[in-house]
């Protein structure tokens, strides 16, 4: 029993360490409510479009999903009428995500105005944030309701590259939001503790049953 359990445990722990140690750019927040948007929002040359969105603390990059364009495409974050951060992208040669570096934001800005301006000479197509590819009918959120208008999908990314280990406290903080009143950042750690206890209980039971065979 021990040999089999040890082999499986080694495999599980090895994969766990590899996965959690992988580094990459992590999401700070997004207004996306779909995986892939079915709506293309057109921004004409010289046009500026603003939307209300929470801008998270620690955001260093904003990611938009656009068709090919010759920019520049400019993003400005405005709070109480004053710009607090901005960035611009020159062009994109293919459809896909466009990452625009922002001046660092230290604190969360709830209900900020995120303004996107096309400073180029041709229209730019941008992905929306809440209409799925298959249309509104696949989202029960909109059953019986008129489909709200999409905003431009804007993902805010954290600065630099991070492993899951280093992101864990941030994840724990998010874990406690929009949940039961007694939930908090501690809850995620409590869940891992409970998972550990179930493992211990399972292994002890296995050992007991194996020895009584």
């Amino acid at each position: 029993m021990r040999a089999g359990a040890a082999i499986a445990a080694t495999l599980v722990v090895a994969v766990l360490v590899i996965v959690l140690s992988s580094s990459g750019r992590r999401l700070a927040d997004t207004n996306a409510r779909v995986n892939v948007s079915g709506v293309q929002l057109r921004l004409l040359a010289g046009e500026r479009r603003c939307q209300t969105q929470d801008v998270p603390s620690g955001a260093g990059v904003v990611r938009l999903f656009a068709g090919p364009f010759v920019g520049p495409l400019e993003v400005t974050i405005v709070k109480d009428g004053r710009p607090v951060s901005s960035g611009r992208a020159a062009s994109a040669s293919a459809e896909g995500p466009v990452e625009i570096s922002l001046e660092p934001l230290e604190a969360e800005i709830p209900d900020a105005r995120v303004c996107i301006a096309n400073r180029g000479v041709a229209p730019i197509e941008l992905a929306g944030n809440q209409t799925p590819l298959g249309g509104s009918s696949i989202s029960p959120q909109f059953i019986g309701e008129r489909l709200p208008t999409d905003d431009v999908r804007a993902d805010f990314l954290r600065r630099g590259s991070e492993s899951w280990w280093s992101l864990a406290p941030v994840v724990a903080d998010r874990f406690g939001l929009r949940k039961a009143s007694f939930f908090g950042a501690w809850t995620m750690w409590a869940v891992f503790l409970l998972v550990g206890l179930t493992w211990i209980a399972g292994l002890l039971l296995l050992r007991r049953e194996a020895s009584s065979r």
Binding site: M1, A3, G4, A5, A6, I7, A8, A9, L11, V12, V15, L16, V19, R26, L27, D29, A32, R33, V34, D54, P56, P110, Q130, P132, G134, I138, S139, P140, Q141, I143, G144, E145, W164, L167, V171, R174, F175, L177, R178, K179, A180, S181, F182, F183, M188, A190, V191, L194, V195, T198, W199, A201, G202, L203, L205, L206, E209, A210, S212, R213
Partner: protein, 492 residues
């Protein structure tokens, strides 16, 4: 009372531990998964809320259920505040969270409207009546707290499912206690069971009822059909039928099992067995008949299709019989050359296998594709070892063919019943969508546990313990990675 206590004491401690692990695992899932991101949880909560707030079933006259479906005021506030969408995630704004919870606490919302509960109105009421209890206990709290209380009841039902699964294995393989424990633990850590246990969905009671049913039938084959066995079988069928009408898919196997049990009972004991079978039929049929009668009487005041297998919207033109047969065939078996292609993918793999290994949320996210292939690679030796165990026991199996056939019939007829409904949904309701989900086959979880237990037996006395230890720890890892994927899906 003392008899009940002594019966409880007769339950092996290992079974209780396996059940307790399933409960705790479900609690973890209840904490991990954001509210409403379990399939149809919005509707299931709406149904139970309506019962708890008004004391009436949705099919009662005067509820206005014929109105356009729309969220109740409280649900609407919650859904917009999360904000909920199938592919989205709850807001990560700490500042907004404070305001949101404060507004939710102020209350004053209308809670009585059925709202999204109408979508769950096709289901019989037993699960929702049970869920009304934790709801009422937390009635003064916010809806977030009330849903959490309701989720906790679901986790207890997962414990019951695993407990009965363990007991089923004990009857099925009476000389292999080690295999019971391995099968019980592997089931307790099954991530889709845990994920659903962490949500408000009638699947949870349906799984518990079917596990009890498998136990009752195995016990009757092992110990003979007595009153206790009849009561367990009948009670489990009644519970299942009053929870989810798809339970009907198990009934051909149950009917065959009862007939086979009577047939093999010695003449001297046949009268007692007949009475026991009568107990099973009455215990199963009376509550169901009462519900059907009640449901029929209330038709006219609003849609009350709960007595049916599917909602009225699915009852339409049955279409071409040949098409139906080829649809059901292709749901589980490779397409034959003369058949029209019914699916844009291969359902046994995309729906049932991936749905078993893990397709979470609204069947919307899961493991990277390579992980499913690894899971399939792990499954191959498990099936081979189980086959070896069956081959070794072929002599004793000759005397148990009717029992094996009963389980096969239960599995086969449930699968056909699901696809029967799925075909109608696809043809009549939405031709661009497919109804099938892996969880619909989860009433057959005891058979999965049996497969694992047989694999441990097949590995023999020397390797059995190592294989058991390997499979249990692998199941633990499978569960943990499923939770991590869910955490990364919603919070990272």
């Amino acid at each position: 009372m003392s008899e009940a206590r002594s019966r409880l004491a007769a339950v092996p401690r290992a079974a209780l531990v396996c059940g307790a692990i399933a409960v705790v695992n479900g609690v973890c899932w209840a904490a991990v998964t954001p509210i409403f991101w379990v399939p149809d949880e919005v509707s299931h909560v709406g149904y139970a809320q309506h019962i708890a707030e008004t004391g009436r079933l949705p099919s009662d006259p005067g509820d206005g259920v014929t109105e356009r479906p729309g969220p109740s005021e409280e649900q609407n506030f919650l859904r917009k505040g999360l904000p909920f969408s199938v592919e989205g995630r709850p807001s990560w704004s700490r500042a907004q969270d404070k305001q949101f919870k404060s507004d939710l606490e102020k209350g004053g919302f209308d809670r009585s409207r059925l709202g999204e509960g109408i979508a769950a109105g096709v289901h019989p009421p037993l699960y929702y009546l049970a869920e009304a209890v934790p709801y009422r206990l937390a009635q003064e709290r916010t809806l977030l707290d009330r849903v959490m209380a309701m989720r906790l009841l679901s986790t207890l039902l997962a414990g019951v499912t695993v407990l009965f699964t363990f007991l089923f294995l004990r009857e099925l393989l009476p000389r292999s206690p080690w295999a019971w424990t391995v099968g019980g633990l592997v089931t307790a850590f099954q991530p889709m069971l845990g994920f659903l246990a962490g949500g408000v969905t009638n699947d949870n009671l349906s799984f518990a009822a079917s596990a009890a049913l498998f136990y009752g039938i195995a016990r009757a084959f092992h110990r003979g059909l007595g009153f206790a066995e009849g009561a367990i079988i009948g009670g489990a069928v009644a519970t299942g039928m009053l929870t989810k009408a798809s339970t009907i898919g198990l009934l051909p196997g149950v009917a065959f099992a009862l007939a086979a049990l009577l047939w093999r009972t010695p003449t001297a004991a046949r009268r007692r067995a007949l009475l026991a079978a009568g107990v099973a039929v009455v215990a199963a049929g009376l509550p169901w008949l009462a519900w059907v009668t009640y449901s029929r009487l209330t038709v006219g005041a609003g849609p009350a299709p709960a007595a049916g297998l599917v909602s009225d919207s699915v009852n339409g033109d049955l279409g071409d019989l040949r098409e139906q047969v080829t649809y059901i065939w292709q749901a589980f078996l490779p397409r034959l050359p003369f058949m029209a292609d019914q699916f844009p993918y291969y359902p046994p793999w995309e729906v049932y296998f991936k749905g078993f290994i893990g397709r979470f949320g609204w069947f919307e996210y899961g493991f990277p594709d390579a992980w499913y292939r690894v899971a399939a690679a792990v499954l191959v030796p498990i099936v081979a070892l189980a086959g070896l165990a069956v081959a070794r026991a072929r002599r004793s199996l000759k005397g148990r063919w009717s029992e094996v056939l009963s389980y096969a019939l239960m599995a086969g007829s449930l699968a056909i019943a699901i696809e029967f409904v799925a075909y109608r949904y696809h043809e009549v309701v939405n031709q661009s969508a497919f109804f099938e989900q892996g969880r619909y086959l989860f009433p057959l979880l005891p058979l999965y546990a049996a497969l694992v237990a047989l694999a441990v037996k097949g590995a023999g006395r020397r390797w059995g313990p190592a294989v058991g230890g390997f499979l249990v720890v692998l199941a633990m890892g499978h569960s943990l990675f499923s939770q991590l994927i869910t955490i990364s899906r919603f919070y990272a």
